[in-house]
Point group: C4
Chain length 286, copies 4
């Protein structure tokens, strides 16, 4: 494998933060807007978590990527701009945080473009996209290409960047994610809506992520970490993130980058695999 | 941030105990009153857990706060008084342990005031409130202010005290809680009603809480711990709580306080953020 | 507290094994008898687990108590007798492993007495009882007293033995159990019927149980451990049990005993609390 | 116990990989073929996981067994052949990954034979079978014997090989599996379809499996490990597998073998228990 996409690093680390705020709950419908505790649990993300995490990134001078739903950017004017001013990338995370697998193509297109309109009105340049709940469809990838974005970051078909051949719109870069590099499965807990079963210790999470980073250095992968400010902005979890960054820096061969940068490097690397999105034939039972 | 609310401590620790007893189960309806094992599981809290925990607090001369549903105080006359006699605060935890999000405003008001009547009849001074299951609504906070209580402790919008602007009744202090500082998610297990999936080791819980306390010292937060006597009164869990207290005392810069005291300090700190309770606009889908 | 019930030991350890075999699954109804894998999973208990655990107990010369459903004793003639021959107690664990909370009083009485008939026919003396899934009702305890058994071991109202005042039949001893001293919550996993979410490491379980034993030595409790041969008979779990026994023996102040012996000691200790089984009044909502 | 079946080793280790790819999801029905993320999550198995795991096995020169659904072999021509060329066994894992407990006998027979046809067309010799989700019925074992396969590996009735007396077709070898030696319960996570609740650290899994291997050396068992390339092919999990292999090799008394070889050894060992598959009589409630 050529070392073009990773610029010679053993592993490239993209720290990404999904700033879902209330949208991750409101998109489930119901009357959750009236649940003051649940709303405060989500508001903690942009109100307390994001400033704390921006300060942490500043300390180490590390660039990151913040995936922000259009509705969140709209509800909190200035939030996206402040993130960009601190040297980070803001990327597309749907408008309403509804997963594409639950929308018609027309609904998804409207939702997708509504977010683009919000960011355009706020002068935020958008280079890439991540589907709500990562639940992308082939149509999602088509929308990404149609709107000339460089990359998507919702699929799991590899642990290095790859290129996706969309149905009608040419190739885009895919920066794959994975459940094991997501703070949601480790930390999220809400009884209503039911989210999460167990709250893990940051020590376990730090240990698991450091082991994955070391293994990804061995296999020369993209360490694409997904965190949520309402989860990883909590004190001891932010401390675990700090220790993860220190661990990566001490290794000496890990490069931190924004997703947009990695997407460009990936598109410059012809050796990366290209994958189509033709769904597998449904199993026909004899 | 001014050091008024925390009186100069790196972190303020409020040890709180929710003495739910049978109410946490009976509020779910059904025929659980006839499930002798389940009832004995809950009765362990006031019968065995509370005396053991009171002795533990005595050993270290640490003040704590006990949130007691009115029904529990009524069923066990003398329980609330004994807690107060040992130097602790008894606070309002609803009458019936039904979460506000499942009651009409009239039902919630009746339930709220019925608990106040029980405590008044027992000469227990009430300074603050915590919603059952933490499921407060804006109306809950209004009730807290309307009855001139100083504080609520059900929301999660910060990890320092803040002030809440209720709709019609002025400001109260909020002493925020969080799932990660609650023994329920770590220890609770019942098959019917279904409660909990995994029983964690006290060693893991102690490690996680010590890490959070250290991180909260770094960020100068309120370490507002919620325990349940029927869970944390068990032998090895009480021992873990003992070690947590020893850990905090050894740090030398942690102040233990009752919730009522912290609420007063918070209301004396104009720099603390004030947050409104206007629910976010429901997401309108394009 | 007088040291009569514990004969002066810091903690008394009753190792108990619930030999449910297929009954724990078949009692759920459905067509599970045809699920060969599930049935083999359960049959492992008496076929492989029990012999291995008997050998382990022999090595240390430690007496234990095996709670056996009548149906299991009937299906595997000689099983109960072999356990008794090795020096252990066989106790009543229902006939069909249906929990009392799901049966009418008449059904429960028939099930209870059917098991007694099986054991009588096999000349197995029965001193005590444990409800299926621990789901005892007040009626269950009445049956225990009515049939002149000495004890029940299904409730959780204390961590020392206590005495239960049954409605019409006088007192029996209660040897309380708890979810945290049960291998089911740590190890059990089946997708259909759905049982368990996480398979824990024996190292975690051993650590947790040793910590509880130490804390119970501190508080002078009954360490009443519930294991299932189809779970704890597996190799590394049997090894963890071996290490737990070694740990207890090294402490030097832990006494291993059969449940029947502890029940007798408890009934000789007037200082132990007596608890009634009157269910709490159902919560009346204002 | 004679040491024939294990050729004198303290434990025999069969590393097995279930190459389910998309079939494990598509067999649940629904529209999952259009869920691009979910499909990419599954495709990772044969696309990235299998090559990585084959390289790992090569490094240590260890033979393994790959259970492949017929549909997967059909969809990815050359996959099964490449596995065989590397010195491993390919075995029968149904055609469509539907569990036998959900099919009529006629459906199961058609599914079973359709897979055999696929492998015959690809010149892959098939010696044994594993049921989808391990959900074998007595009929499944009959099919295994009827088609002259040597072994099944779906049941849990022992932790050493045993022999199964099928209803009409004679004996086959059973190489028993268990939930605690499966990577699924430790690593699998998908929200839709709902799979898994907690993502465990490879460090915990490695520790648990090493402890089980040591205990199995003590009891002279078959360490029959089930991994899935879409799970254990991930970087830090592949590293944990590497460490497990190193641990086993360092012990010096563990033999790695293909399932087919162990099945032959087992059939040469008359001392191994023979078990029938007559389902237990359904519990008749009094």
């Amino acid at each position: 494998m050529s070392d073009v996409w990773n610029r010679g690093a053993a592993a490239v680390a993209t720290l990404t933060f999904d700033v879902d705020a209330e949208s991750a709950i409101l998109a489930r419908g119901g009357t959750y807007a009236d649940h003051a505790m649940t709303m405060s649990h989500q508001a903690y993300g942009p109100d307390v978590g994001v400033p704390r995490l921006l300060d942490l990134l500043d300390e180490f001078d590390i660039p990151a990527t913040f995936f922000v739903p259009g509705w969140v950017a709209q509800q909190r004017p200035g939030l996206a701009a402040r993130i960009v001013e601190r040297g980070h990338e803001v990327a597309h995370h749907s408008y309403s945080h509804r997963p594409p697998t639950t929308m018609s193509e027309a609904e998804e297109q409207a939702d997708f473009e509504r977010a683009l309109d919000v960011f355009a009105a706020q002068d935020i340049e958008i280079l890439g996209h991540r589907a709500a709940l990562w639940e992308a469809t082939a149509h999602t990838l088509d929308l990404v290409a149609q709107h000339s974005l460089l990359y998507d970051s919702s699929l799991m078909g590899d642990d290095r960047p790859y290129r996706v051949a969309t149905a009608n719109r040419g190739e885009i870069a895919e920066l794959p994610v994975h459940w094991s590099l997501d703070d949601w499965e480790q930390y999220a807990f809400l009884p209503d809506p039911h989210v999460g079963s167990v709250i893990e210790s940051p020590a376990k999470v730090l240990d698991m992520w450091c082991a994955e980073l070391d293994a990804m250095r061995h296999y020369r992968c993209l360490f694409n970490l997904t965190c949520h400010p309402f989860l990883s902005g909590r004190p001891s979890r932010a401390m675990a993130l700090r220790r993860l960054i220190e661990f990566a820096l001490q290794r000496g061969d890990v490069t931190f980058a924004r997703c947009g940068d990695v997407a460009r490097w990936a598109m410059d690397t012809p050796e990366l695999p290209v994958r189509g999105l033709t769904p597998p034939p449904t199993l026909h039972f004899a």
